[in-house]
């Protein structure tokens, strides 16, 4: 019930007195009307912006936060008001809902921010008024699609190869040729053969000079029949193999067979096989020749290779109704004008308008403003109607075209946006990783500072320690507790990868503590999920200094660290194999800064700026 109407409830109850004299049964007892507190003003302070309203206004909706006793949790005694630490701009709309009973959705707000506010105040979005509901739903759907898209892409990219069966990996290779080199090769080979086949079809019909015992020219197809036949056979073989492989790999064979692309595939290779079967029968050779026309459908196989073609296809499909309308109106106009022209030109002698269907050709040519000139009206009335015909043709064709164009533009922009998102994904992920590593850097720095607080008396360090805000201190303590709990320590990605490499090498070859700086060794660990525990191994720290730099720029100078690390080394080496095989996934921020460089580079300022950078970065990460 709308809020305003709730204010009329007393009236409705009073009007019920009109039923009393005619009532056939005694009335029920009225509910105990607990004496409400006198209606007073409530002050709602939302992040500094003060809103005031009557208490009754808020209590119209007792199942929301503001209308129930839940708001008492936000009561601020000192200032005698209710304080909410939320967005005042969006709160305005929420309060208006209480006042007017209608919830509006402001178009300039982000949909997820708005949703959060609604959820916080306990208001279901379904009561958004009709004026704003469609917009709200559209934005919401768009947002969800976007998130879903990203998730799907995430999942598909993260899927490790060996998790899938051979069939699934084959299907994936077919659908997304960039996943492996094999798929890419296959993709290009099929593309090449499509092009070759289409070209052969075209060249077959070109006249190739006269044969020695013939008068007229023969086409190249007849002259080099064998060569073209061999080429055709080869192409059809490739296409058949490809089709069968796709059929084999498809997760849902039935769905695959029904899809457009598979139909195109079948239509492209059928004529060849039918031709093989039917060459001996003279009667149907005419039909066979017609079938060869279908070979041109091979060109549609290119749509797997070209996104633009696919977009065009989607556009036409989505504009089917507009195209249908165009066709229908054109047909109507053609029939009308053809009839008129026929009867107008009936009188003139030698006129080409022998029948109404014959006049169709003239009408079509005129309406599309082609004007071949093979049929022209000769009478005055015919010319008048002919000119009307051409004018109206322009109009009828120009009307549905903008609709089709706008549809195309919308679909095209959507695909562009998807591409852009995918491209931006990489930079976005890199940024997120940088931020996280900054956070972890701070912790490691703190640890080292903590460990060194007795050892090092460098003024800068001590200063830095003191200015650690309480939040950080408590957070670091928490991470420390976690380390103690699991008996593992936080380290950076590089050292983890190094240890991983070492373990793999250890497993294969003799145990060696030297690093092989070959980069491909890192791939064993680079495929793991990004969030994983890393294990320190000081033996590895020397050497790979400059490499993993794109994520973090913090260099830590303390040399003595290696001592502490090496002391823990023995313990860790037992646990290293464990870690490498099963990467732990935790919520803690883990990827690590570069290991301590053996030669102190940089200056105080560099490290302190780095630290302050970490400070800034850290806040946003946490």
């Amino acid at each position: 019930m709308a809020a305003g109407v709730a204010a009329w409830l007393p009236f409705a109850r009073a009007a019920a007195i009109g039923w009393m004299p005619v009532a056939s049964a005694p009335m029920p007892v009225p509910p105990k009307d607990k004496r409400r507190a006198k209606d007073g003003l409530i002050v709602l302070n939302v992040s500094g912006t003060k809103f005031q309203t009557w208490r009754n206004t808020l209590e119209r909706y007792p199942d929301t936060l503001l209308g129930s006793t839940e708001r008492d949790f936000f009561y601020h005694e000192e200032s005698n008001e209710y304080f909410f630490d939320r967005d005042p701009d969006i709160f305005r709309h929420i309060l208006n809902f209480y006042r007017t009973g209608k919830l509006h959705y402001p178009r300039h707000e982000c949909i997820s921010a708005y949703d959060e506010e609604l959820a916080f105040f306990g208001i279901i979005p379904e009561i958004i008024g009709d004026c704003c509901y469609e917009e709200y739903k559209d934005r919401r759907r768009e947002n969800q699609e976007r998130i879903q898209d990203d998730e799907e892409i995430d999942q598909s990219n993260d899927m490790v190869q060996q998790d899938m069966t051979f069939r699934e990996s084959m299907w994936r290779a077919f659908e997304n040729p960039h996943t492996s080199t094999m798929a890419l090769v296959f993709y290009y080979v099929t593309g090449f053969f499509i092009a070759v086949s289409v070209l052969a079809n075209v060249v077959e019909t070109v006249p190739c000079g006269t044969a020695p015992n013939r008068v007229k020219e023969v086409s190249c197809g007849e002259r080099y029949a064998l060569a073209f036949f061999c080429l055709d056979t080869a192409c059809v073989m490739i296409f058949t193999v490809e089709y069968l492989l796709r059929l084999l790999a498809a997760p849902s064979r039935y769905k695959f067979v029904k899809s457009v692309m598979s139909i195109i595939d079948v239509v492209a290779i059928m004529p060849y096989y039918i031709g093989l079967v039917m060459t001996d029968n003279e009667d149907v050779s005419g039909a066979f020749v017609t079938l060869r026309v279908f070979r041109v459908f091979r060109i549609f196989k290119f749509s797997r290779h070209s996104a633009g073609l696919r977009i065009l296809g989607y556009t036409l499909k989505s504009c089917a109704s507009e195209l249908g309308f165009l066709l229908f109106s054109l047909t109507m106009a053609i029939i009308i004008f053809a009839t008129v022209m026929f009867y107008a030109e009936k009188g003139s002698s030698g006129s080409k308008f022998t029948s109404i269907p014959a006049a169709f050709w003239y009408t079509i040519v005129t309406m599309t403003t082609l004007g071949y000139g093979d049929m022209v009206p000769k009478t005055i009335i015919g010319k008048i109607f002919g000119s009307i015909c051409s004018l109206s043709g322009v109009l009828v064709i120009a009307l549905p075209v903008p609709v089709i164009v706008s549809n195309f533009s919308r679909i095209y922009h959507q695909s562009q946006r998807a591409e852009k998102r995918r491209a931006q994904k990489k930079t976005r992920l890199a940024r997120i990783r940088a931020v996280k590593s900054g956070g972890a850097n701070a912790y490691l720095q703190y640890k080292r500072n903590g460990l060194l607080i007795d050892a090092s008396k460098e003024a800068g360090q001590a200063l830095v320690c003191k200015t650690n805000p309480t939040f950080d201190i408590q957070h670091h303590h928490l991470l420390h507790c976690l380390e103690k709990t699991t008996n593992h320590e936080f380290v950076d990605e590089k050292t983890y990868e190094e240890s991983c490499m070492e373990v793999s090498m250890v497993k294969q070859t003799s145990r060696s503590s030297s690093i092989s700086s070959s980069p491909h060794g890192l791939t064993c660990c680079s495929r793991r999920k990004r969030k994983s525990f890393n294990v320190p191994n000081s033996n590895m720290s020397v050497g790979l200094q400059g490499s993993v730099q794109e994520l973090s720029t913090i260099q830590i100078r303390e040399r003595p660290i290696s001592n502490s690390r090496s002391s823990l080394n023995a313990k860790f080496e037992e646990t290293v194999p464990l870690n490498c095989d099963q990467p732990y996934i935790t919520a803690a921020v883990i990827s690590m800064p570069t290991p301590p460089v053996t030669t102190p580079e940089g200056d105080e300022s560099a490290s302190s700026t780095d630290y302050s950078q970490a400070n800034i970065v850290r806040v946003s990460a946490l």
């Binding site: 019930m1 305003g4 009329w8 007393p10 009236f11 409705a12 009335m27 209606d39 009188g347």
Partner: protein, 233 residues
């Protein structure tokens, strides 16, 4: 030969006539020419009726509500009807929201007429508040008077069986279809019969105000129910 010429001539004339008619129709369609005199569609916007109620003191004097109560009532009233008056459609809408399962429009119509004491087609805040004052704070006599006024549709001082039947049907309409026991066609009629048996003392087929008040005052149930809604505001 002549016929041939006439044929072509005739065809051409026909063609020219058709052309002219089509172009006139096209121009009319485009709005460039007008045929009828009064085709000018004046968009007479009914100027929004704005009504300001009498001052708070006067209303306080005329009704039995306190100042605070009048303030609360007015705020609710103005919220729903910013223009200051309720017309019948809005009234029906508001009332219908309280009875979603049935059709409250007929009863709301009668109610509207009961509230609209000066019969000007709209209920202003004064009418509203006067009506409520009687219903919630009035004496039993006044309430019964009001009820009689509601039932007496044509305001002639007598309630006939037809009027009562209309009212009864309106009340039963508010119940809607899904009732237990199922609503039958003759239920309102039976109810009216019962009512008349009780109220119509001299059996003349109509109920006068005195008969009504007398009868109601003798009925305990009715008396008790009159005090039901006193604490609504």
């Amino acid at each position: 030969m002549l016929t041939a010429i006439w044929e072509t001539e005739g065809l051409q004339t026909v063609g020219i006539v058709v052309l002219v008619c089509a172009s006139i129709k096209l121009l009319h369609l485009l709005g460039l020419i007008n045929f009828s005199e009064d085709s000018v569609e004046d968009e007479l916007e009914l100027s929004a009726v704005r009504h300001r109620p009498e001052g708070l003191e006067q209303l306080e004097a005329q009704t039995r509500f306190s100042r605070k109560e009048l303030q609360i009532l007015y705020r609710g009233f103005k919220n729903e009807c910013p223009s200051g008056v309720v017309n019948e459609d809005t009234f029906k809408d508001i009332y219908a929201q309280f009875f979603p399962q049935g059709d409250a429009s007929t009863y709301a119509h009668f109610l509207f007429n009961a509230f609209d004491t000066d019969h000007n087609g709209s209920v202003s805040f004064e009418d509203f508040v006067m009506g409520l004052s009687i219903l919630l704070r009035g004496t039993v006599q006044e309430k019964l008077n009001w009820a009689f006024n509601l039932y007496d549709i044509n305001k002639d001082g007598y309630i006939t069986k037809e009027e009562m039947l209309d009212i009864m049907k309106a009340i039963y309409d508010m119940m809607g279809k899904c009732t237990y026991p199922v609503l039958k066609e003759e239920t309102p009629r039976q109810h009216v019969e019962i009512f008349f048996q009780k109220m119509d003392k001299n059996k003349d087929g109509v109920v006068t105000i005195d008969e009504f008040i007398d009868c109601c005052q003798n009925d305990e149930n009715i008396m008790r129910s009159m005090h039901l809604f006193e604490n609504v505001i």
